[in-house]
């Protein structure tokens, strides 16, 4: 099953694309696992996810913590801390 990843703001700019569909390898169970795996996919990912602690994540359009399990996620979004308002 493929999962849709969406990127915003400087995460999107550094990775170089707004979204992509990925096949998650076995063993990627939590958001933290996903960030670790993504970071190893190339220089642009390494640049975007250099400090994983600051990256905010939403699963199916709801905020989640990095320890959250990602089983069943259709859409996972990665973005910097929000600056609206």
């Amino acid at each position: 099953m493929s999962t849709k990843l969406i990127y915003f703001a400087w995460v999107r700019e550094r990775i170089g694309k707004p979204e992509e569909d990925v096949e998650l390898p076995a063993g990627i169970e939590t958001v933290a696992d996903l960030l670790r795996w993504l970071k190893s996919r190339g220089e642009e990912y390494e640049h975007a996810l250099q400090y994983p602690d600051v990256i905010r994540v939403a699963i199916n359009q709801e905020h989640v913590e990095h320890r959250q399990k990602i089983a069943g996620a259709r859409e996972i979004a990665l973005f910097p801390p929000m600056t609206g308002g």
Partner: protein
């Protein structure tokens, strides 16, 4: 009679009319005693800023502000609640965000509007990028720790009340 208040949440590129949004909540009724509005505007940062560009997460922006508004309605006795957030390029002096809260007495409207803005700043998926007056790209605006602290005080307030 108690009827459930349904918040009005809009995410849009175009500007909004503050007076029209107040009227939308108050027209045709005489039970509202207090309306508090908050408007957030784009500053020019002492002439150095040409525009802000607001990126958002379509779908989640509406959903998240809707969740925050629903929490406000649960916490305060409100008769109406509106939240409008713009996206796209916004020039200094233009509106960015509007919150309108209506209640019988002022305290609920003041507190609900304040709560909504604090939460919206730290949880609504919007990101500001600066365009400088000298033509250079100013980069993405950094999140402020003060905004997170402002949001977290409402958690403490909730704990004290229970």
């Amino acid at each position: 009679m108690i009827s459930a208040v349904v918040p009005i949440v809009r995410i849009q590129a175009e500007d909004f009319d503050v007076a029209a949004e107040i009227a939308r909540l108050t027209q045709g009724r005489a039970d509202i005693g207090a309306v508090v509005t908050f408007s957030g505007l784009c500053r020019d940062e002492a002439g150095t800023l040409a525009a802000l560009e607001l990126e958002h997460y379509p779908g989640m922006a509406e959903a998240e502000i809707g969740r925050i508004a629903a929490e406000a309605i649960e916490r305060w006795p409100l008769q109406g609640l509106t939240a409008i957030h713009r996206h796209g390029k916004i020039a200094p002096g233009e509106n960015i965000v509007l919150v309108v809260a209506a209640s019988v007495h002022r305290q609920a409207a003041f507190e609900a509007a304040n709560f909504l803005m604090d939460y919206l700043k730290s949880r609504a998926p919007f990101w500001k990028k600066e365009h400088r007056a000298d033509g250079s790209e100013g980069g993405w605006v950094d999140a402020k720790e003060a905004d997170d602290e402002a949001a977290s005080r409402w958690k403490q307030a909730a704990r004290k009340r229970t």
